[in-house]
C-alpha cells in the first residue's frame, strides 16, 4: 500500500493516469523505424560486399552513412519529441491470445517506445557508433578485402540490436536487442577468428551473457505473470492501479528485480559475471571502444533504469545493486592497477566505472548513473580509440612497459594529448566531465540511507583515487617520459619497414586523428549538460541529463525530484530507503555532501595522480622497487600477485563451475553409453539374443537337432493331449 504513491509521478502532475498508448498514437513518427532499418540495410549491403569480395572501403562508407543517418534520425526524433513519451508501432511480432481476459493474451510487437531516456541512449549510441565506424574505416585498413565487410556487417548488426534494445516498447523486444548485442559482440570479439584466444573470448562473452539472459527471460515471465503484460506503457498502467498488488502473490515482485539484476550484471560486467569483459579486448579496438566501453555494456544500466519502478518495489534489491556496483568498482580498479596491457587496463577501468553507475542506481540517483554513462561513453571511447591508434601504429604493442614518450614522437602528438584529455576525465580531474558525473554518485552515496552506505561511499572515494592512479600510470608510461618503444607481436619485419633494420611506428592519419579530436572535444563538452538549465521542471537540478531522465521510468533518481511534491509520498518511503529531503544529517566535514564531494574527490584524484607521476614519470624504477618489496614480504606479497592475476576469479569459475560441469558431462556421457544404452537398452535387446544363443544348438542345421525339436515337440504335444484326455481338460470340459 505504502508504495502506491511512488508510481503516480510517472505521469506528469495533473495528467490523468492512463496508458501512454491511449494518449499518443503516433503513426506520424513511424519514420523513427529508420533507426532500426538503416543498420539492417547496411548489414545487407555489407553482406553483399562480402559476397562479391569488394576490396574497397565501400562497406565502411555504407555503414558510416547508415549510422550517420540513424544518428540524424535520432536527433530529429529528439527535436520532435514531446513528453511524456510515444509508442511507434512498426509491425506485429508475437501475439498469442486465447481469450479476452486480462492475462489471456501474450503480446510483444516491434514497437518503439520513445521517451527521453531512450532518446538519450539512442543519441549517444548512434553518434558514437558513427564516429567509431569512421575511425574503424582507417583502423581496419589492413583487412581490406579480407574481413573488412565482415567487420562492418558486425557493427551494423550491433547497432541494429542496440537500437532495438534501447527503443523497444516491450521487454521481449528488449530481449531481442539484448541477445542481439550479445551476438554482435560475439561476432566482433571473434573477428580475428584464427586466433584461438579471440574465439575463446567471444565464446566466453556470449555464454556469460547468456547466464544473465536467463535472468532476463525469467524476469520477463514473472513480469508477465504478475502484471499481465510485458509492454512498458501497459506495465505503467497496471502499476498505477490501486488493487494490482492484492491480485497477485507477493514473492514475484520481490524476485523480479533480482532476476533483472542478474541480466544487467551479465551485460554490464558486474561482479559475479564480469569476467568476460577483459577477455573481450581480443576484438579489434574500435569494437572495444564501441561495444565494450561506450554502449553495449551500459545496456545493464539502461535496463535497470527502464525497470526502475520494479526495483523500487523491493528496496533490498537496490541496496544489493549499490553494494555490487561499489565492490565491482573497487575490485576492478585494484586489478587495473596491476595490469600491463593498456587495453586491459582500460577494460578493467570500464568494469570499474560501470560499478560506479550501478552504485548510482543503487543509491537512488538514476540521474547520476545516466550522466556517468553519458560522460563515460565519450571519454572511455576516446581512451580506447587512442589505445587502438597506438596498437595500430606499434604493430599490436600494448605493453605499457615497452612504449614510452609518445608525445615526443612526430605524428603522435594528437594521440597523446587526446589521450591526456580522456585520462583527465577518467581520473576525475576537477571540472572535467568525469569529475562532475562521478561526484553526483559519490555524494548520493552519502546522502542516501542504506546498510553501510557510508562505508560504501568511502570505498568509492578510495576507488576514485585508484582510478586516477592507474589512468595516469598508463599515460605517464606511454605518452610521457623518454622516447622508447618495441614492436608488438604483429610485427614480422615485413617489407614495409623491415629493410631499414628497425621498426618504425606508423602514426595515425587524418581520419583517426579527426575522430580523436572530435571525441576529445565531446569528452570535455560532456561537462556542459551539468550546467544547463532544466526545461521540464524548474525544481529539478542536474541540467539537461536530468531532463532526459525525468520523462522516463527512472525519474525517481533525479536530484530535486521529490515524490512529496505530487502529494503521494508517505512517511515510510524516506525511512525505508531514499532521499533525505533536508540532507541535514548527512554532513561530511561539516559541509553538504555535494559540496564536500567536490573537494574530497578532487583531492583524492590529485593524490592518485601524484602517485602515478611519482612512480611512473619521475622515478620509474621506484615502481619496480615497490613491487619487488611487496613481493618479498610475506604479508604483502599476495596483494600484487592477486591483483595481477585478477583475484583468481577466472580460475575460481573454472574450478567451481566449468570443470564440474565438464566432468559431469563426461559422467553423463559414460552413463548414457554404458548404463542407459549398455545395460538397459542393449541389455533388454540382449535377452532374446541370449535366449536364442542358448537354443541355437537346436537349430544349428544338423539334421538331428531338427529331429529332436520336431519329434520332441510333437511328442510333448501328444503326451499332453493324452494326459488331458485321460485326466480331463483344464476347466473340466472334457
Amino acid at each position: 500500500m505504502m508504495l502506491h504513491g511512488l508510481f503516480m509521478p510517472l505521469v506528469a502532475p495533473g495528467t490523468p493516469a492512463v496508458p501512454l498508448s491511449d494518449v499518443i498514437s503516433a503513426p506520424q513518427l513511424s519514420w523513427a523505424g529508420l533507426i532500426l532499418l538503416l543498420p539492417l540495410v547496411s548489414l545487407v549491403l555489407c553482406g553483399l560486399c562480402a559476397a562479391f569480395r569488394v576490396r574497397s572501403k565501400l562497406p565502411a562508407v555504407i555503414t558510416s552513412a547508415a549510422l550517420a543517418g540513424a544518428f540524424v534520425t535520432s536527433v530529429m526524433l529528439y527535436f520532435s519529441y514531446e513528453p511524456p513519451g510515444e509508442v511507434v508501432h512498426l509491425f506485429d511480432w508475437i501475439n498469442v491470445s486465447w481469450g479476452s481476459g486480462a492475462i489471456e493474451s501474450f503480446s510483444a510487437n516491434f514497437s518503439l517506445y520513445i521517451d527521453s531516456l531512450s532518446l538519450l541512449w539512442i543519441m549517444f549510441v548512434t553518434g558514437l557508433g558513427t564516429l567509431i565506424t569512421i575511425y574503424a574505416s582507417e583502423y581496419m585498413e589492413p583487412d581490406l578485402g579480407k574481413g573488412y565487410s565482415r567487420f562492418f556487417a558486425g557493427v551494423s548488426v550491433f547497432l541494429f540490436a542496440m537500437a532495438s534494445l534501447v527503443l523497444s516498447d516491450n521487454l521481449l523486444m528488449l530481449y531481442l536487442g539484448w541477445e542481439g548485442v550479445g551476438f554482435a559482440s560475439y561476432w566482433l570479439i571473434g573477428y580475428y577468428y584464427q586466433r584461438p584466444a579471440a574465439v575463446a573470448a567471444a565464446k566466453k562473452a556470449f555464454i556469460v551473457n547468456r547466464i544473465g539472459d536467463i535472468g532476463l527471460a525469467l524476469a520477463i515471465y514473472l513480469i508477465w505473470v504478475t502484471f499481465g503484460t510485458v509492454q512498458y506503457d501497459e506495465l505503467t498502467t497496471v502499476l498505477q492501479q490501486e488493487n494490482w498488488r492484492e491480485s497477485f502473490e507477493g514473492w514475484t515482485t520481490s524476485a523480479i528485480p533480482f532476476l533483472l539484476m542478474l541480466a544487467a550484471f551479465g551485460k554490464s560486467a558486474q561482479l559475479p559475471l564480469y569476467v568476460w569483459l577483459p577477455d573481450a579486448m581480443e576484438g579489434p579496438t574500435p569494437v572495444s571502444a564501441l561495444i565494450h566501453a561506450a554502449t553495449m555494456v551500459t545496456a545493464g544500466i539502461y535496463l535497470v533504469a527502464r525497470t526502475y519502478p520494479l526495483f523500487l518495489l523491493e528496496p533490498v534489491s537496490l541496496q544489493v545493486v549499490a553494494w555490487v556496483g561499489g565492490l565491482t568498482a573497487l575490485l576492478a580498479a585494484t586489478i587495473g592497477m596491476a595490469q600491463y596491457d593498456i587495453k586491459r587496463i582500460m577494460a578493467y577501468s570500464t568494469v570499474s566505472q560501470l560499478g560506479y553507475m550501478f552504485l548510482g542506481l543503487g543509491v537512488l540517483t538514476t540521474y547520476g548513473a545516466a550522466y556517468h554513462v553519458f560522460t563515460h561513453a565519450f571519454f572511455k571511447a576516446l581512451l580506447f580509440l587512442t589505445c587502438g591508434a597506438i596498437m595500430h601504429g606499434f604493430a599490436g604493442q600494448l605493453d605499457l612497459r615497452k612504449i614510452s614518450g609518445l608525445r615526443h614522437l612526430p605524428g603522435w602528438r594528437i594521440t597523446a594529448w587526446t589521450m591526456f584529455i580522456g585520462a583527465l576525465c577518467l581520473a576525475g580531474f576537477p571540472l572535467t566531465s568525469g569529475y562532475l558525473s562521478k561526484d553526483v554518485i559519490l555524494a548520493e552515496t552519502f546522502v542516501t540511507q542504506g546498510p553501510g552506505f557510508r562505508i560504501l561511499g568511502w570505498l568509492a572515494i578510495v576507488t576514485a583515487g585508484l582510478t586516477a592512479y592507474y589512468t595516469f600510470r598508463v599515460w605517464f608510461r606511454v605518452c610521457a617520459g623518454p622516447v622508447a618503444f618495441e614492436a608488438g607481436d604483429e610485427y614480422h619485419g615485413d617489407e614495409d619497414h623491415g629493410h631499414t633494420g628497425g621498426f618504425h611506428p606508423h602514426a595515425p592519419r587524418f581520419v583517426i586523428n579527426t575522430v580523436l579530436i572530435i571525441l576529445a572535444v565531446g569528452a570535455l563538452m560532456a561537462a556542459l549538460p551539468y550546467f544547463m538549465s532544466n526545461q521540464a521542471d524548474e525544481r529539478l537540478v542536474g541540467g539537461w541529463v536530468a531532463d532526459m531522465v525525468h520523462d522516463s521510468t527512472a525519474r525517481q533518481g533525479i536530484p530535486g525530484f521529490h515524490p512529496d511534491d505530487v502529494g503521494h509520498a508517505d512517511a515510510g518511503h524516506s525511512t525505508a530507503h531514499g532521499h533525505d529531503d533536508s540532507h541535514a544529517h548527512a554532513l561530511i566535514l561539516g559541509m553538504d555532501p555535494h559540496i564536500a564531494m567536490y573537494w574530497i574527490s578532487g583531492t583524492v584524484g590529485m593524490i592518485g595522480l601524484f602517485f602515478a607521476a611519482w612512480l611512473h614519470l619521475w622515478k620509474r624504477d621506484h615502481a619496480d622497487a615497490l613491487r619487488r618489496w611487496m613481493l618479498s614480504k610475506l604479508w604483502l606479497g599476495w596483494l600484487p600477485r592477486a591483483m595481477e592475476r585478477k583475484w583468481y576469479v577466472d580460475e575460481f569459475y573454472h574450478a567451481l563451475i566449468r570443470s564440474p560441469l565438464w566432468i559431469l558431462g563426461h559422467i553423463f556421457y559414460a552413463f548414457d553409453r554404458f548404463i542407459i544404452d549398455g545395460i538397459f537398452v542393449d541389455g533388454v535387446a540382449r535377452i532374446p539374443r541370449g535366449v536364442a544363443r542358448w537354443l541355437q544348438p537346436l537349430q544349428a542345421g544338423a539334421v538331428q537337432s531338427l529331429a529332436v525339436v520336431m519329434a520332441g515337440g510333437a511328442m510333448i504335444i501328444l503326451l499332453l493331449m493324452a494326459l488331458f484326455m485321460q485326466f480331463g481338460w483344464p476347466g473340466g470340459t472334457a
Binding site: 544348438p697 544338423a702 538331428q704 537337432s705 529332436v708 519329434a711 520332441g712 511328442m715 510333448i716 501328444l718 503326451l719 493324452a722 494326459l723 484326455m725 485321460q726
Partner: protein, 308 residues
Amino acid sequence: MDSILPYIATAVAAIGLLIVLSSGVRLTRAGGGVLGMAGLVWLFMLASTIPGGVGDVTIEVFFLIFAAMAVSAGVQMIRSPRPVYSALFFVLVVMSVCGMLVMLEAFFIAFALVIVYAGAILITYMFVLMLAQQASDASHQGETPEYDRTPRDPVAAVCVAAIFMAVVVNVTFTGLNDLAPAASDVDRLRADAALLANTPRGVQRQVGEDVVLPDSLDGHITVQGDGVVLHASSPTGDALIVPLKSPGNTSHVGWSLVARFPASLELAGIILLMAMFGAVILARRQIDHAEEELASAVAAPDSSEVDA
C-alpha cells in the same frame, strides 16, 4: 491306468539307455543295459494286466525271446561305434521282428521282410559303408572316426525317446480298453469265407471239377461250426455242402493288396521306379564343365582335359 508306475518303468528304461549310450566303460554299459532291460520287463509285466491276451505259453515265450533280441540288438545297433556292426545288428533286429511276425501269424510279411531287408537293403547299406570307409579312412585304416565314437547330445536323444515312449505307454495303458473287441474265431472264418467267395476259381480248384459252383458265390459260402463250407451242387444238381480249407495268410494279403489297394500298389511301383532313377542320377559321378571347356571339348574332341 491310474498308476504312475508305467511311467517310472519307462523312465528307468530310459536311464538305462542313456547309460548305455553315453558311457565309455564296458561295465557301466552292461549295468545300464541290465537296468534298461529291468525297466522294460517291469513295463511288460505291468502291461500284462491289460486284457486281450492271445495265444499260448509257447507263443509267449517265443515272443519274449524275440522281443528281448530285438530290443538288445536295437540298442547295440545305435551304440556300436562301427557302422558295419550297426548294420549287422540291424539284421538281427529284422530277424527278431520277423520272428515276432511269425508269432503274429503274418508269415508272408515275415519272409518278405527277411528277403527284402536282410537280403537286399542291408546289403546295399553294407556296400555303401564299405565303400565310404575305404575311401575316407585310407590313412588311418581300422580306426573308427570321431563322429562315430562320440554320440551327439545323448541326453536330448534319450529325452525325446522317453517322451515318445511315455506317449506310447499312455496310449497303450489307457486306450486299449476302449478298443473294439478282438476278432473272434468266427470272425476269422467269416473273413476266410468272404475271401473264398471272391475267388471262385480257387474254390473250384480246391473242390475239384465234380462240384458245380453257382454263378455267384455270394451267400453260398458260409461258416459252419469251426469251418467254412460251400453250398454247391453236384453236376447232377444235388445240393452239396463241401468244407473248404482256409485260404491262408498269403492269399489274404494278396487279395487285400490287389482288391483293396490297387491304386496304391501302382503308386508304390512308380515310387520304386522313380527312386531307381533318382539314385542313378544322384550317385552318378558329377562332372562340372565350364562353358569354355565345353566349347573346347566340342571344338577339339580329343582334348584330354574334359574329365578334369
